[in-house]
Structures are given as C-alpha cells and as structure tokens.
C-alpha cells in the first residue's frame, strides 16, 4: 500500500513589497513512498525539503497539486492521528516539563487517557530522558530537545513518521541513537520519511532516496540503483618515480606516496591507462573497480544546476 503520495504538489510564494514577484519553492512534485519504507529526502539547504514536509503536514498551503497519506487527502485532520512529525531544530513550550509536553501532545493526538501515562513513561525511557522528565524544557540542551522532539513524534504510535533533519545538532552518540531508532521503527513496519543532507546516514538507513535541488526533483530510486547509474571508476596502483605523461588527459586523479602511485580513472579510460603503463614498462600492482557512493550520485544531480538549463537535461 502507498503510504505517501504527492501529485503535482507545488508551492510558489509571492514575495516583494507588493507580493507580485513569484518565488518557486517547490516545482510540481510527483513522489510515491510505499508503506514500511525508510525514505530519504536529500538536498542542499534551501532545496525545498522543508517546504515539502510543511506541505505534507498542512502547515503550508499548496499552490497546486495534492498529496495523500495512507490514501487520505492531507486536508483531512483525522489522518494526522496516523502521522508523527519532527520539525527541523524543534522548539517546544519551554515552560512545560518534558512529561507535561508529552502529555499535552498525547491529549491532542487522541491517546486514550488510561494508556497515556504508560506511553509517556515508556517514551521518556526510550529517548533517555527519564531522569529529566520533570525538568522544564527551558533548561534542556539542544540534544535533549531533539530527543523530546523524537519522543513527541512517535508517542502516539503513528504509522507514518516525518523527520526533518533528525540528526541535526546531535553529537555522534546522539546520531547513532537516532539511527537505531529509525531502524527500530522500520522493523516495526513504520514508514519513515526523513530529510537530511548527511548522505552517510541516508545511505546506511534508506531503502530509497530522492534528491531535490532548487525545488525540483532530480532523481529517485533505490540507493544501489542510483549509485550504479553513476559512471564507474577504476583504481590503478603501480610503482614508479613519476606519473607518466598522458594520465592527466584521461581525467585521472593521481596521488604519489613514496614509490607508489595511485590513480583513479573513469572506467571507460581503463584500457588507455593500461596502455600507457605498458608503453612506459611500468609494473601494475593492482586494478580495482571503485564503488560509486551516494555522494557521487548526489553531487552529480545537484551540480546539474550549475550548468545551463539546456545542458541539464
């Protein structure tokens, strides 16, 4: 079953003093996320990730198109009982304690009164805030606020969870815990849609990712498919005193360490590189294909923007 579906969802803001100048925040977006998937939404700052999430949460009104969550239109308030949302750099009512805040959100989400206390205590324990349950949020560190944010997003046991930059502001341990939590949610069959620009997290966690840049979807698919679509490279290692002429013309990245030379060349130039080494009578130590990372795919998609519009297609 489809968990999240956007159909030509778009947003244009009217800016300027007379509000007549359009600023496109999101071009028509068509995206489908299946139930139980962990979906990464990647893009640089200002790409349109947060706008998309706000549109899905009903915080921003779309200029065009529509979106459905679990088959229901996002305008229907009832569907939100099935949604959990962690905004970017969350800020909460700082006059409340962590326990009071979760109680308030549980009430708003319609959690049954008899289950409320048990769920809140379990959640505080799960995010490591049991000892700080009665401390006002104004005394919380950024990392603790992020934990409260995660707790409020999953407190009511939603089916679809949206996380906007969930690792932002966390130390390495905190990031590890969030990753574990997302893994756990996946094992429970939840759908997790999270935006990030930390590609290693996306690569490690996501079933599928989408890359967005300048409000436009640049690519979407399984991580393995996307990385294999990037033109491959090979690494050659040999011993020598200098990089032979002709390597730079092949677009090689060369590094020398003592007598050892390491060159990474595009896969299509492999034969030409070997020919140069044979001609120079140099002995090849190894030749290894270089696995493309999500980062390379991401850089390729995002850097298309730097080229003229015609060249980008």
């Amino acid at each position: 079953m489809v968990a999240i579906e956007t159909i030509n969802l778009e947003k244009t803001y009217a800016v300027g003093f007379w509000r007549k100048k359009p600023r496109v925040a999101l071009r028509p977006l068509n995206l489908t996320v299946e139930e139980g998937e962990v979906f990464g939404f990647l893009g640089p700052n200002g790409a349109g990730k947060t706008t998309t999430l706000k549109l899905l949460m009903g915080l921003v009104i779309p200029t065009g198109g529509t979106a459905r969550i679990l088959g229901k239109n996002i305008d229907e308030a009832e569907i939100k009982a099935q949604i959990g949302f962690l905004p970017e750099q969350p800020y909460f009512y700082d006059y409340l304690t962590a326990k009071e805040l979760l109680e308030y959100y549980a009430q708003l989400s319609g959690v049954e009164p008899k289950e409320r206390t048990r769920k809140i205590e379990a959640m505080l324990e799960r995010v490591g805030l049991k000892d700080a349950a009665r401390v006002q949020l104004r005394k919380f560190s950024k990392g603790m606020l992020q934990r409260v944010g995660l707790a409020q997003a999953i407190l009511h046991d939603p089916k679809v969870i949206f996380l906007d930059e969930p690792m932002s502001g966390l130390d390495p341990m905190g990031r590890r815990e969030v990753r574990d939590l997302i893994e756990e949610l996946k094992q429970q069959g939840k759908t997790v849609f999270f935006s990030t620009h930390i590609l290693s997290d996306a690569e490690a966690l996501c079933d599928r990712v989408a890359v967005i840049h300048q409000g436009e979807l640049r690519g979407v698919g399984h991580v393995a498919e996307l990385t294999s679509s990037v033109a491959g490279k090979v690494e050659l290692i040999w011993n020598g005193s200098a990089v032979p002429d002709g390597f730079s013309a092949l677009g090689a990245e060369c590094h020398m360490s003592g007598e050892t030379i390491r060159a990474v060349v595009p896969e299509v130039q492999q034969e030409a590189a070997l020919e140069i080494l044979r001609r120079e009578r140099l002995r090849l130590n190894s030749l290894t294909p270089v696995r493309s990372s999500l980062e390379e795919y991401y850089v390729q998609k995002v850097s298309l923007a730097a080229k003229p519009a015609g060249a980008a297609r």
Binding site: Y13, K54, P90, Y91, Y104, L108, F162
Partner: protein
C-alpha cells in the same frame, strides 16, 4: 471540542507560568495603599473614590494583559515554531484559535475574580459594611470582562496577520477610539455629507467600549438597567465572535513559513 479545551488549558498554564498573575500583587498594593490614603483624607466620598479607583485599575490591568498577551498568541507560536507540532496533529486551525482565545479570556477572568475580591475588601475597609447598591459593582465588573472578551478577540485577529508591534498598536488604538465611541456617534449625527457617512461607518465599526464602561454610574450608586445588561452582553458576544471568525478566516489561509 476536547482539543479546544486542551489548548485553552495550556494557554492558561503558560500565562500562569510566565507570571502574568503577578500583576495581582501590584494591584493589591495599589488598592490597599489607596484605601488607607482615602480613609485618611476624604470625608463622605471614600466609597466613591475606592469604587472608581478600584474598577478603573481592574480595567486597565486587564486591558494591558489582554493586549500584550493577545498579540503574541499566534505570532509567538509561529515565530518560535511551536505551532508546527500542534498543527501536525489532528488539530484544526479554528480549534487552535478558539482554544487560544478561551485560554486568554480564562486567564483574565481568574485575574478579574481576584481583583474583584480586592475591590470589595478595600470597600469594606473604608465603608465598614456593604450596602445593596454595591451589587451594581458586580455588573460593572461583568462589563469589564465583556470588554476583555472583545479586546482579546481583536488582539487575536490582529495577531493572525501582523507583527506583535503592529498588533499592539492596532488593538490599543481601537481600545482608545472605542472608549469614545459614543462621542464618535454623536459627531456622526452632527456631520453632513461624506463626513457623516465616514463617521457613522467608523462609529459603528469600532467596538463600543464606552457603553461597557459604567464605573462612574456604579460609583454614584446608580442602578444599571436590565436592558443595558442584555444589550451589552449580546453586543460583546457578537463582536467577539465576529473578530474570532475573522481571525480564523485569515489564519486558515496562512502559510506557516
């Protein structure tokens, strides 16, 4: 409906934790000081002075709270983004606005209740006993609460589309103009042509706070007619409801950037 109540309760809790009710201490000091002073320097008009001063203070303290909290009810939540985690739940935007309104009016009601106790205590101190005409003070207090209803609704309306500073300016200006609404209506009756049209429109558009101010009358122990009580109640409820509807209509279309 329960979500409206939850939001109202949270708004009330915010006001209490932000020490809004501390104004009661200032009020208590002001009133007890005034009662002692009046008891010493005035002869025969102690009641008049205490009622006048007490009710005016109740009104002014409440107006300041209504405006300064009301203008931040929506804009502060948007600025701090606390609204995101509320509206991403099964909470409709109108429920949020109505909940906020009820929370603030509830805060003002509690505040006014304690101030009213203070006024009656000061009155007892200077008069040594209550008399039947003191019951009209309750009507004056009720009218003050009606003023707060209108002001809260207006502050919320302005807060739904403009900055806190501008909202404060708008709300306070309307309070001042509305306090002279009867004069504005008199001016409209005397004017001619375009000026009359404009003055009449303005006179009926601004909230009629002057009709809700009966402090002078009750201080002079004059009764308030049942007709005025019914009319003012209906007027304040209708005016507040319209302002809240306006706030909801605007807020429903707002993008939370």
């Amino acid at each position: 409906m329960s979500r409206v109540v939850r939001i109202a309760a949270n708004t009330f809790r915010e006001a209490v934790r932000d020490r809004v009710l501390y104004n009661l201490i200032a009020f208590a000091l002001l009133l007890s000081g005034a009662a002692i002073l009046v008891g010493q320097i005035s002869v025969g008009i102690e009641r008049l002075v205490v009622v006048n001063l007490g009710l005016t203070a109740v009104s002014l303290f409440g107006v300041v709270i209504a405006i300064f909290i009301g203008i931040g009810l929506v804009s502060k939540e948007m600025e701090k983004r606390t609204l995101y985690t509320v509206l991403s739940r099964p909470v409709r935007r109108w429920e949020f606005i109505v909940g906020k309104f009820l929370g603030l009016t509830g805060t003002l009601f509690v505040n006014t209740f304690f101030m009213a106790i203070g006024v009656f205590a000061a009155l007892l101190y200077v008069s040594h006993k209550f008399q039947s005409s003191d019951a009209w003070i309750l009507v004056a207090l009720f009218f003050i609460v009606l003023q707060f209803l209108i002001l809260c609704a207006l502050a919320l309306l302005f807060s739904s589309f403009s900055s806190p500073l501008l909202s404060a300016v708008f709300a306070f200006s309307l309070f001042v103009i509305g306090s002279f609404a009867e004069d504005l209506r008199g001016f409209a009756r005397m004017s001619r042509g375009l000026a009359q049209g404009l003055a009449t429109t303005a006179a009926y558009l601004v909230p009629n706070f002057s009709a809700l101010n009966v402090i002078g009358q009750v201080a002079h122990e004059q009764p308030i007619s049942a007709h005025l009580i019914a009319y003012n109640t209906a007027y304040a409820l209708a005016y507040s409801a319209m302002a809240i509807c306006g706030a909801v209509l605007i807020f429903e279309r707002r993008n939370l950037k």
